[in-house]
Amino acid sequence: MHDFTPIASTIGGILIGLSASAMLLLSGKVAGISGIFAGVLRPMKDDTLWKVCFLAGLFMGGLLLRVFDPHAYDFGIIRSPGVLVLAGLLVGFGTRLANGCTSGHGVCGVGRLSARSIVATVTFVTSGALTVYLLNH
């Protein structure tokens, strides 16, 4: 075990929770990023502006990290382009099929004690762990 960061990770988690809570209590929306991104890529009905604004904020936050916490981009492990293409395809396709990702299911859904989200979260963590196990061992 190296680079264990319980305090920074808890603070970051609380910020994520506060952001998702603001979306819930002020706008009534679920801060599910795969759904927001998909909603911008394939805009349906009159429900796109808030998604564009959220993604713009995410990018703005990313720029702030670049200035104030560049350590956030010490990726540590970067797979080859071919593997990243496969990983991206799986993440994009899988999150749409499951209707959510780490944010929508893992934070918002689990926080609402949704059975679907709890099952999804246990499933994607297990599947991710199995994948890493097969890659590393």
Binding site: M1, H2, P6, A8, S9, G12, G13, L15, I16, G17, L18, A20, S21, M23, L24, L26, S27, G28, K29, V30, I33, A38, L41, W50, K51, C53, G57, L58, F59, M60, G61, G62, L64, R66, D69, F75, R79, L84, A87, L89, L90, V91, G92, F93, G94, R96, L97, N99, C101, T102, V107, G109, R116, V119, T123, F124, S127, L130, T131, V132
Partner: protein
């Protein structure tokens, strides 16, 4: 207008949370998923921190008739477990473990300007379109329907 500002500011705070917590670093994600090797439990702290805050907010939501700045809550109500949920989460988890990126950290990390992140995000967008084009094949009939449907409409 107000809700657009809420979305923009929430996006900023979300990104900062992802960066500070370590989620934008694939090494942290992959080490978290490496339960039988070099396990780094940090990301469990991210999940718990975020979930506890959201749990409290959701309790508050249940006492409110509508959100403060919008007409109504848009919250998923499905509770059935279907094959798409399990298969989709399995596929997503495999991609997550493979690359070390999930959608939020990947989109945030676009701001780093790193080419591998752009490759991942482009592939992720392709995966989303692929699902859109093929989704008619993945509609599983679910046993629980919310509204009664006409018998002829199957």
């Amino acid at each position: 207008m107000k809700t657009s500002l809420v979305s923009f500011c929430s996006g900023i705070v979300f990104a900062l949370g992802l960066g500070i917590s370590g989620m934008t670093r694939p090494v942290k994600v992959i080490d978290f998923l490496d339960f039988f090797g070099n396990w780094d439990p940090s990301l469990a702290f991210v999940m718990v921190g975020a979930i506890v805050v959201y749990f409290v907010a959701n309790r508050q939501r249940l006492t409110m008739g509508s959100p403060l700045l919008a007409a109504k809550f848009a919250i998923p109500t499905r509770s059935d477990l279907d094959a798409n949920l399990i298969i989709g989460a399995t596929i997503f988890g495999a991609g997550w473990g493979l690359g070390g990126f999930c959608p939020g950290p990947a989109l945030t990390s676009l701001a780093s300007g790193a080419l591998p992140v752009m490759i991942f995000v482009a592939a992720m967008a392709a995966g989303i379109y692929l699902h859109g084009w093929t989704s008619e094949y993945f509609v599983t009939p679910h046993p629980v329907t919310i509204a009664p449907q006409p018998a002829a409409d199957s």
